[in-house]
Amino acid sequence: MLDANNLSFHYTRCDPGETPDFAFSFRLAPGECLAVSGPSGAGKSTLLNLLAGFLSPSGGRLTWLGEDLTDQPPWARGMTTVFQDHNLFEHLPVWINVGLGLSPDLRLSDDQRSDILDGLAEVGLGGLHDRLPGELSGGQQQRVALLRSLVRETRVLLLDEPFSGLDRGNREALWGLVRRQQAAGVAVLLVSHDPEDVEALAQRRLRLVEGRLVSP
């Protein structure tokens, strides 16, 4: 269970006791998908950055099954973020982008290299392993990013509008990949404005209003 307990953040310095700009509390079970929506500036990016460890909270706690993640660096949290774009290293071919999820120092065995090829074929990208990200469509790039999150030991998948601008066919293919993660016990937090994405994936919804999560 991912448990965010009054996880808060100030954009400016403030005194103890002052109300923080953002304060998030919610729980997310393994295998569950929670959708979060809200207007611009409500704090969606702040929430994702706090969960991923890109921002340090000014208060509160974040735990996974009782393990304190609050001060853990980004790589030790078991979380993978997939953004709307810029999920891949543009100068590295597809197979290295996936391989980095498997081994951060890229020491890959022959078997692992074969597995990368099989994995790519399985998500409909067979034969494209040597392509650079710029040579793929937006949907194909997102598939590579999701495949990489699949090969990491991910506990929580953070999705930041990852299906925006994609056609129906691509989105359905990506939904399938996310559902597979859920089936494997990965908790998913989906930030999306699109009701179809939310409908397809989320079991629960929350809305962000002025830096706080509320029921819709």
């Binding site: 993978t80 100068h91 078997d111 990491r152």
Partner: protein
């Protein structure tokens, strides 16, 4: 299923791995080496020179004259260089397409790196008493005296070097203006005066104080030009007087006094430049892409046609004839090459030393910038600034002082021969550092935020991060930085003049010897070989890193 096979061997991100401190330690080591050797060398000189009297600077006529001339020639050179660079930059920004624009821009970049002795050779061939321009000068003034020696020659040579540099940096600043502003100006139909007031001058005036400080420092510390064209005590600068004190008079006290004076003035100027937002990038060509669009600017019509032609033609006449003269005279002297037994050893010696200096500058530059990035990412801005600023030390500390101080520091152990050349490599490496750092900075610190976060999340650290994420971005700038550093070392004629042996010269030393003994044809061939070597270095290093690497799976 393939994905199960994949997940069976997946990486565990939960192992707490300490963020590598390698960049910090590398930066600290480089900082210690630089500051230690820099300040140590100055200290060594001061210790060896008791009884320095600052008052002699204005009490002794010779020293007062040297100081006055140094300041005067540098001020005049700065004024002329910048005064001409502004209309040239504006004309180049206005005329985005004309035959020869690329050639002119390339020649402007070349002037930054062309060894000073080559430039001098070309200037003498064009502006000397027997030069191409001499008949015109005589017809206009009736004088046979010429204008290349003394103050006018020094200013001309400084303008040859600094006008293109200043114009290129100002042009970059003009091209940095958002394309939307130019579109707006076009829609509003702004004319020459309107564009100058709303777009051009606001962009230029931001850069001018810092640029003036840079050009003044370069002119103030110029050595080979003043030594060659100065022609006597009346036209001597601090740097040349320093050389004479060390080389001929062995007067360490005077050398220390001159070094301290130069250091104080340059530090004051750099302080001023920093207060205005830091020194401008020395590496031209790192600006944003020029604005797109094919419309012609309204201010490009009318009188501008005439004035722009005048300025651009003037720039071409200043830059191209000396470079062409080197090539023409060199081609004529190529037949003599077979008889030059000392040329090829000198070339080889120069190349080996340049490779050493380039490698050293690159290593120090990467270490300092990596350390700066590490500190800046943790909010330690002052320490980060100090680490990066230490790379600029050589711009205020005369290379001759650095060399002499190091010689004094190491004297008990330092023998002759190759050890003296080792010292030259060390000082040349330091001299190239500001250029190298300017070129590398953007690439090393420029990993986009999204990619940095992605790399952090995937736990890509240390060597892997360098190898796979930084190096692909760094390889081209590193090649350019290496070319800059090697070129500066190849053309060095300051430190080598002090520690080099006449019997084992480098290419610039050989050229100087040949010019000194009036072997004009042979010197021309040597200058051409030096110029060709510089050009070949840029082409070769650029070619080696031109293609993006593809990483095949097997």
């Amino acid at each position: 299923m393939a994905s199960e096979a994949l997940t069976a061997g997946k990486a565990s991100p939960h192992g707490r791995r300490r963020l590598t401190q390698l960049p910090l330690w590398a930066g600290l080591t480089a900082l210690a080496a630089l500051v230690g050797l820099g300040l140590g060398s100055l200290g060594a000189l001061l210790v060896q020179a008791p009884g320095i009297s600052m008052a002699s600077l204005w009490q002794e006529p010779y020293l007062a004259g040297v100081l006055r001339f140094s300041l005067w020639q540098a001020s005049l050179s700065t004024l002329v260089s910048l005064g001409l660079a502004i209309p040239v930059a504006v004309a180049l920004a206005r005329r985005r397409r004309f035959a020869g624009r690329r050639l002119l821009l390339r020649a402007m970049e070349l002037s930054l790196v062309v060894p000073s002795l080559i430039a001098l050779f070309g200037l003498v061939a064009v502006h000397g008493r027997q030069g191409w321009a001499a008949p015109l000068w005589e017809a206009l003034t009736g004088s046979q005296e010429g204008y290349l020696y003394g103050l006018s020659g020094i200013v001309l040579a400084h303008v040859f070097y600094n006008l293109p540099l200043a114009a290129r940096l100002l042009l970059q600043e003009l091209e940095r203006a958002p394309a939307a502003h130019w579109r707006l100006a076009a829609q509003l139909g702004l004319k020459r005066r309107g564009i100058w007031r709303t777009l051009e001058w606001p962009a230029l005036k931001r850069l001018l104080p810092r640029l003036a400080a840079l050009v003044f420092t370069l002119c103030f510390t110029s050595f080979a030009i003043v030594m060659t064209l100065g022609g006597g005590p009346a036209s001597t600068t601090l740097e040349v007087a320093l050389y004479q004190a060390l080389k001929f008079d062995n007067d360490l006290a005077l050398a220390a006094l001159l070094a301290l004076t130069q250091l104080t003035i340059c530090l004051g100027l750099w302080g001023l430049a920093l207060s205005q937002g830091g020194a401008p990038s020395l590496a031209v060509g790192d600006g944003s892409a020029p604005l797109g669009g094919r419309w012609q600017r309204r201010d490009a019509l009318g009188i501008s046609r005439l004035t722009d032609t005048f300025w651009l033609l003037g720039l071409a006449l200043l830059l191209l004839p000396p470079l062409v003269a080197v090539v023409v005279a060199g081609l004529g002297g190529l037949a003599d090459l077979a008889h030059q037994a000392s040329l090829w050893p000198a070339l080889w010696r120069s190349l080996v030393m340049a490779a050493g200096a380039g490698g050293l500058a690159l290593t120090l530059g990467i270490a300092l910038i990596a350390g700066h990035g590490w500190l800046a990412a943790r909010g330690k801005r002052l320490a980060a600034g100090l680490m990066e600023g230490s790379g600029q030390l050589i711009l205020v500390l005369p290379a001759l002082v650095l060399g002499t101080g190091l010689f004094l520091l190491l004297r008990p152990r330092l023998g002759g021969g190759w050890q003296g050349y080792g010292l030259v490599v060390l000082v040349n490496g330091f001299m190239a550092l500001p250029f190298v750092m300017q070129v590398l900075r953007g690439a090393l610190l420029g990993l986009p935020m999204a990619q940095r976060r992605l790399a952090d999340q995937l736990d890509i650290q240390g060597v892997t991060r360098f190898r796979w994420l930084l190096w692909p971005r760094l390889r081209r700038p590193a090649a350019l930085a290496m070319a800059y550093a090697m070129t500066l070392s190849l053309g060095d004629f300051s430190v080598i003049a002090l520690f080099g042996s006449p019997s084992a010269p480098t290419l610039p030393m050989l050229l100087y010897q040949q010019l000194g003994s009036y072997r004009w044809q042979t010197a021309a061939a040597t200058a051409l070989i030096l110029l060709a070597t510089v050009a070949a270095l840029f082409v070769l290093l650029g070619w080696l890193t031109r293609r993006l690497p593809r990483y095949p799976l097997r």
